[in-house]
Symmetry: C2
């Protein structure tokens, strides 16, 4: 089997139409954001189906969606708020829209669940309801960030795991590769290991060991390892995927969000300083709009929770309908191209050689005759 | 003693004129960058003195600096290149301009050394020549990043230490506070602990323990601890100082550099797309220049190596004369306001209660009579 064949199967489209379960209550805007996004989604994807999950208020807000032939509604009595702790979300709100949406995936009524609700609660409920895949110790959160090549870099983990072993980082690399193959990407996406220098001697012991595991996996054709990358490579687009522990990934993501927001604020301030600069802004408006569109984070909305026995996508809590629509599209692509099978196959392949070795070593060596 | 008094002494200006030792050979441009920057520096600071260190080529390029009454030249036969490993820089190039400049500080001929040379070599030589301060386990690298308030956030560590204990993070907080007091800042700068959430229960065990130590130090008036901050807070300017381990700090810094460079590239591309957008660029030029000036990273050039028995400042390797001048200014401010005494005092105060407790516990408890 060639290396390019190894990663192919995951791109085969699903045979049956894609059904997504949507937590209509999640996020800052709730139904005001999710329902319009669902309406557009159904219009854009002519065979896709939606299972909308929400409370009575959501039900009464459905409008034309109540009669839509490819849309059904499931009532849930509770809502996980953005401030709810994991314990509250998991133990005290067993009939939350978030949990019921995920249960749709578990019960086979939907191929993926999408929620803009609180990340900690979503991950905890998803792990509890769906369980982790065989061979996966810890699920990870993966998102896309725009890069200078005009494409996007997939980064994981983004906060699910604060301390990671080298083996966890290898699993993230395998899962990230399956995600890129299934959603956007090239057949053999490149993986970079986030470090503080390109040389293999750089970084902590965990990172150095992870580098060894990734090189080994590359040699076996399980993934396409580029080597160490640094923080700036995320936005240069040096590799398709950047792998790191959840602490580092979360800080890098949020620092970037903070910087982008600061720069946007400065541009706005400078252009609204006086009537002269306001005139300049009018002249420059088409250019500024084109620029804004290029770095519009809403187009990259929709983080994947990977490593579970079911697909779950997380929208940013502050998403508007446009951004939430992108999260729905991401989940649709992933389900359509069988991301779950891709992740499972990637992990199984990578774990296989070790299992064979273990079996061989269990066979008693024949005595020399 | 009130809390505000605690941090005051470090701001007292030095009695004697400030002398800086400059490694003229460091950085991508070498003397073409450092010598013009030194010329401007001497013109701007009427009492400051410079000890320039370089090879014969540098000596012949001195021009009017050779006769300057507040400038002297020290010949060094070797140059540490940007690619030299730590071993080469430390063991095989004992007469490098970098090392000779640092030795000027050790021998009391200069109050701070400034180099644009390779960071790893600079830190290794500085540690070897100057040694670490009592009470400091590991030196740290601190830099400033612009924030949305129009000020700057001091971030440390930026790559000197890949694995840090809670005690190291406390030491970074104390050293960072002394740096801000001495260079730019308020008398009681606020310290944030970089984490993946604001709640005290967030983060790894090391981070949670560091939070406890920082709260304790705050209660004793040794520093002004704000609490946990997230990546975006660096650019929001939530606190004056953000403390993190060197791996996380390095990734956050480089990711930000990568994003800033991507955004600058996009703005340029959009404005040079066709003759219409080029006209818009002409009209918007003053606004774009004002914006560019606000986020100009050259103004934040000059990272401090903290925790050593002498002051060393690191300029970016790609610095031009303008940027290198800012690194010289930072070193001048630090020396002028006795940063070294400030760091030493901060560490001593914070370590003192523990020493007292230890002494007390060593005193035998009197027998009840």
């Amino acid at each position: 089997m060639t290396q390019s064949e190894v990663l192919q199967p995951a791109t085969t489209p699903a045979a049956s139409p894609v059904t997504l379960a949507v937590d209509c209550m999640g996020g800052d805007a709730g139904v005001a954001c999710t329902l319009p996004a669902c309406r557009s989604f159904l219009a854009q994807h002519s065979t896709a189906r939606l299972v909308l999950v929400g409370n009575a208020q959501a039900q009464s807000a459905l409008g034309d969606l109540a009669q839509h032939p490819r849309c059904s509604f499931v009532l849930a009595s509770e809502v996980v708020t953005m401030d709810d702790g994991i314990e509250v979300a998991l133990r005290r709100k067993k009939d939350s829209s978030m949990r019921v949406a995920i249960t749709q995936v578990k019960d086979g009524h939907a191929m993926a669940a999408v929620s803009a609700g609180n990340t900690g609660a979503l991950m905890a409920i998803a792990r509890y309801v769906l369980k982790t895949l065989d061979g996966i110790d810890r699920p990870a959160i993966a998102t896309q960030l725009p890069n200078a090549t005009g494409g996007a870099t997939t980064v994981l983990d983004l906060g699910a795991n604060v301390d990671c072993s080298a083996e966890h980082l290898l699993q993230f690399a395998l899962m990230g590769s399956a995600l890129v193959v299934a959603t956007t990407g090239p057949a053999r996406p490149t993986v970079g290991l986030l470090n503080i220098g390109e040389e293999v001697i750089k970084g902590s012991e965990v990172i150095k060991h992870a580098g060894e595991l990734l090189r080994e996996a590359h040699e076996h054709g399980h993934l396409n390892f580029y080597g160490n990358v640094e923080g700036n490579d995320i936005f240069h687009g040096t590799t398709d995927i950047v792998v790191c522990d959840g602490f580092v990934g979360n800080v890098a993501l949020k620092a970037s969000e903070g910087l982008a927001s600061m720069i946007a604020g400065f541009i706005k301030q400078e252009f609204s300083r006086n009537w002269l600069t306001k005139m300049a802004a009018l002249v420059a408006l088409p250019v500024l709009s084109a620029f804004k569109n290029r770095v519009d984070h809403r187009r990259y909305n929709g983080a994947a929770l990977l490593g579970l026995k079911g697909l779950v996508f997380k929208s940013h809590g502050s998403a508007d309908a446009y951004a939430f629509g992108h999260a729905l599209d991401r989940a649709y692509d992933a389900a359509q191209h069988q991301l779950l099978a891709g992740v499972r196959a990637g992990i199984e392949r990578a774990m296989a050689p070790k299992a064979e070795v273990d079996t061989l070593s269990a066979v008693p060596t024949p005595e020399p005759t």
